[in-house]
């Protein structure tokens, strides 16, 4: 059964592109809207399996899309939403992650260029996982650089941490870094020990734990 998806994007070309891209990858696009109020209606009315939302939408062209997504998630807890933006902000990432229920994605629009990875991210979010843009993670790690426990990580562990924070599973990480899955498992166990976190087998819960930890370390 194909996933039902709602798309919110005000630029026609990009909206059309997204629709075609997702349809080509066997998604069922139930609605493609272009403004905040429409989006909120579609999200709460149609209850899609996942929504792909642009931050900036009419009528105000501020963070209409983000607000609609947050409102919809308050009404329907855990509603999977993937937010796209021309720029990423830790502030927004924080707000999206704040309810701790996962099923959240936050990516730069550029990531759409790479169809495979983008579709993978959409599926991950639909399955209740997270997809954080590498740039968000890089900023997060850069601003926590002074924090002690992170300094204790080996370079390899740091790479694993970055990919893990983006929301990737052990299998995906092992593919990315050309490691065996068990090696990745060892690294993650070591990271969790160093950061004093409770290990978890569930990929999603693990990612949320890492992101919460990094956010908290920011103070």
């Amino acid at each position: 059964m194909s996933l039902r998806v709602v798309i919110a994007e005000d630029l026609y070309l990009l909206r059309d592109g997204l629709v075609h891209l997702l349809q080509a990858h066997d998604f069922d696009v139930v609605a493609a809207v272009e403004s905040g109020p429409e989006l909120l209606g579609a999200l709460t009315g149609l209850r899609p399996d996942v929504a792909v939302v642009d931050v900036r939408l009419p009528p105000t062209f501020t963070d209409e899309g983000l607000q609609a997504a947050l409102a919809a998630r308050r009404a329907v807890p855990g509603l999977p939403v993937l937010v796209l933006s021309q720029h990423v902000e830790q502030l927004y990432a924080r707000e999206l992650l704040a309810d701790g229920s996962g099923a959240i994605g936050y990516l730069l629009k550029d990531r759409v260029f790479n169809a495979e990875q983008f579709v993978d991210a959409v599926r991950r979010v639909a399955a209740g996982g997270t997809a954080m843009d590498p740039e968000v993670i890089a900023k997060l790690l850069a601003s926590t650089a002074r924090h002690q426990p992170l300094g204790a990580l080996t370079p390899r562990e740091r790479e694993v941490l970055e990919l893990m924070a983006e929301g990737r599973s052990n299998a995906a990480i092992s593919q990315r870094l050309f490691l065996s899955e068990s090696a990745v498992g060892k690294h993650t166990a070591s990271i969790f020990a160093k950061l004093d976190l409770v290990p978890s087998d569930d990929d999603n819960r693990r990612v949320l734990a890492v992101l919460t930890y990094l956010n908290a370390a920011r103070g």
Binding site: V55, R56, F61, T62, D63, S85, Q86, H87, E89, Q90, L91, R94, D110, F113, K139, A142, S143, A145, R146, R218, G219
Partner: protein, 508 residues
Amino acid sequence: MKTHAVTVGRAFVLGATALFDVVLAVVALVTSLLTFGLGMIFLFPPLVRLFRFRTKVARRLTGTWLGTVVPVPYLPPPPSARPQPDGWYRHERQLYKTPRWPNWHIRLKWMVGDPATWRDGLWVLLNPLAGILLLLPLLLAGYALLTLRSADLPAGTSPLLALAAALTLLATPVFLRGYAWWNHLLLSPTAKSVLAARVQRLDEARLATVDSQASELRRIERDLHDGAQARLVAIGMTLGAVEELMDKNPAAAKALLGKAREASSTALVELRDLVKGIHPPVLAERGLGDAVRALALDSPLKVTVTVDLETRPDLPVESAAYFSISELLTNAARHGGAERVWIDISSSDRALRVVVTDDGSGGADPSLGSGLRGIERRLAAFDGVLVVNSPKGGPTTATFDLPNALLGENGPGCKSSLPRGKAAIVGICWGLGWLPLFPQGMVTMIMKLIGSEHRSWFLALYLPEPLQWPLIVFNILLGLSMYAAGTIIPTMHARQQRLAEVLPARLC
């Protein structure tokens, strides 16, 4: 009791110095005669300097003793003469070898043309009269003693005079307030000179703003030219090559397409950074508070942000405040070696106030750091002022105020008609001024002069002989000052209104 004694003491000191101004007034009259009668204009600048010195003292005393701050009213000094290309200095139709005489002429013109010069003169001329008023208790007491000596006066004269002396002594604070008001009236800037100063400041601010805008545009142009534009050209060329290779060598074409995509990604990254430098998206989307919070999150320092704003400031103000805070934050990290920074954004009245404190090593100086100068320039466009307190060893506190930032919501609130109390005083002054001036003053004086027996309702003539003249003079003065007050109060109010229109933040 003690404070009253201090007040009286001050009144006497001020009165005594005011009496000495008689000397200054005589000097001024003589000098003016020589200057304008005999054309000895070289005497004029020293006289003006003398006046300015005297009024400077008066201004300071009015501020410290009487609690009425009197701003310095003079027009900004003119720029000195500049040599022509041939090295000569020109003043009107004359050429000079050295800048000495042109400068002298420029300064003379500046002094003569400044209304404050003439107001200073008027103040010095009238100040002895004010001195008499301030010394009234002493004068009355002295008069009482004199009348006590002479026996041929009706009984009760001296006690009456002593009573008057005591009353004026009690009323000294009121006199002093009047004196302060009078000083403020003549010695503070006229609307014209306030405007002139304002225009000069605006001129400077405009220059700085245009300058920084232009350099900003140049930077953007350069970034676009070397960045995104160049990349787009490269992408176009790559796509052209792909077109050619497509049939012959599909594998190479595919590789080139990958490259084109990469280049477009890089172009996007560069454009994103550029946009961030022009107007950060968070600022557009969320306003100042969240934009600064986002800034704090991206900073390597531990930053605490407190925002207490009810309304969103105007967009240009917001942007200026944002970039100033960003610059201060960068400074704290780069030069101050700080670890913690506190940013406090609040509003006071219609002003936006931002305080940035860090625990760095301090020693920041706006006159040295070009970053701080840039902030000053940025803020100047909005009448903003940056104050940096950064002792060696820290902590550094940078505060800036943007006075009109929150104007939009409240509207100009200082436009008002004359307050009711003042309007009543003006009404009484105009309605009853004739009473002391004519029947009880002038007419009584004439009756007294011609020695008429007819006392009718002329109050002064019922008093003992030595008190008759003082009361007549007092009545005439009272009448005159009532008319003066009736004229001056509405004029002052109108002036303040006019100033309020051009200086919304400063004066209301």
